[in-house]
């Protein structure tokens, strides 16, 4: 969906559907969703979604990422990374929060920043 708010009008989302093959680096200030094949790196100022048919051979840099497809490369996301049950990550993950679903594959090392006490309290408050 294209962003229409006045603060972020230039960041039209990038969407790559299944059946599309890409070679090179994909970058956008907005969100990126890939359900095709990419040989190259992804750099996003927003959220990256790798769909169930997505196959990425390269690194991902984003604010957050949801992976339901296959990623062969390192993932860096300041906020969070979520690997769905069909997701596979072969590489290291550097992120604030990590979620790995039952059935997902993660082969690599994870590096996470320590959660400060205030954030823990906030999360407890929200979930409680």
């Amino acid at each position: 969906m294209a962003k229409t708010d006045v603060f972020n009008v230039s960041s039209i989302d990038t969407v790559i559907g299944s059946g599309v093959k890409l070679k090179g680096n994909v970058s956008s200030d907005g969100d990126i969703a890939i359900d095709g094949a990419l040989v190259g790196n992804i750099k996003s100022g927003g959220h990256v979604t790798i769909g169930i048919n997505g196959r990425i051979a390269g690194t991902i840099h984003a604010t957050s990422a949801t992976i339901a497809g296959y990623v062969d490369g390192n993932v860096t996301a300041g906020d969070s990374v979520s690997i769905g049950e069909s997701g596979q990550v072969h590489g290291d993950i550097d992120t604030g929060r990590l979620e790995i679903a039952m059935g997902a594959t993660f082969i690599g090392a994870s590096k996470m920043k320590p959660v400060v006490a205030a954030e823990v309290a906030e999360r407890t408050e929200v979930s409680g």
Binding site: V9, S10, I12, G17, G19, G24, N25, S28
Partner: protein, 289 residues
């Protein structure tokens, strides 16, 4: 001062039926000016150039997409504003600016909301709004998709389009994006537009949208929108770019701002040239003059 470029042949001579009413309305709104009629192809380009030399700073095209494109190619100064009174067989560009008919167009001209749009180069040609290739362009060559077609005519077009879609073979497409990203995909249809037409506050930028063959269920609404020449943005892939090079197998024709024009392979890029349009879009970013 307003300079009106009238194409008397546009829209099968539609202007001749409303000319007096149009001039009366323009006088009432205080935006009367000089009226000049084109007599042949490329006339609008020459006339606009001469009008600008004479000191006119507002050029209004009374015609369709073809006349607008010719007129835009005659704009030699960036301070000139371009208005459109849609009278053509195809008025795609006017519709993209929110202008739907001649009466509303007069009100739009009087309100004079201005927005600048970057000119896009496609090979040796220039365009403003939308380039399409693939099924949509092919259909336009097969089926007469003029505006004002009766409901019965539309249904006939629809069934022709339906049959054409069943037999249409997707193209094999390769797109080089901003010289650093290569994309390959089977392609039913593709469109390139300036994002500013849909997001007036955004910068000028090419938005490339790829379409997969619609399912039987989706085909009805898709065909209806294509035949109405609505802009369709919900493709299966979409990305922004400043320059793209498109190659297809087999080579195919392109439609530029509603006119069939040129073929693949082709390089398309956003230029630094801006055209100031008088537009209907009620957005706060438009400044009234």
């Amino acid at each position: 001062m307003y300079y009106y470029v009238i194409n008397p042949a546009a829209g099968k001579g539609k202007i001749n039926q409303v000319q007096e009413k149009l001039r009366t309305r323009l006088r009432e709104l205080g935006i009367d000016g000089e009226f000049a009629k084109t007599t042949g192809p490329k006339d609008a380009t020459k006339m606009v150039k001469m009008a600008i030399e004479k000191g006119y700073n507002t050029v209004v095209v009374v015609g369709g997409d073809g006349t607008v494109n010719e007129a835009v190619n005659g704009i030699t100064k960036e301070n000139v504003a371009v208005g459109i009174i849609p009278m053509g067989t195809s008025n795609f560009l006017a519709h993209r600016l929110g202008i739907t008919g001649w009466q509303q167009a007069c009100e739009v001209l009087a309100a004079r909301r201005i927005s600048s749009f970057g000119l896009i180069a496609a090979g040796q040609k220039y365009f403003l709004s939308t380039l399409t290739l693939g099924f949509e362009t092919d259909l336009d060559k097969q089926v007469e998709t003029a505006e004002g077609t009766s409901l019965t005519g539309r249904l006939g077009q629809f069934w022709q389009g339906w049959g054409h879609a069943q037999n249409y073979e997707p193209l094999s497409c390769k797109i080089t994006i901003d010289n650093n990203l290569e994309l390959e995909a089977p392609l039913f249809s593709l469109s390139i537009t300036n994002q500013k037409f849909d997001h007036p506050l955004a910068d000028n930028r090419l938005i490339v949208t790829l379409f997969d063959k619609p399912s039987q269920r989706q085909l009805t609404s898709y065909l209806w929108r294509v035949l109405k020449k609505d802009y369709i943005e919900d493709g299966f892939s979409r990305f922004g770019a400043k320059r793209v090079v498109i190659e297809t197998t087999p080579p195919t024709g392109l439609m530029i701002d509603g006119q069939v024009s040129s073929r693949t392979p082709i390089a398309i890029r956003l230029t630094n040239r801006q055209i100031r349009f008088i537009t209907e879009k009620p957005d706060t970013s438009f400044k009234s003059e």
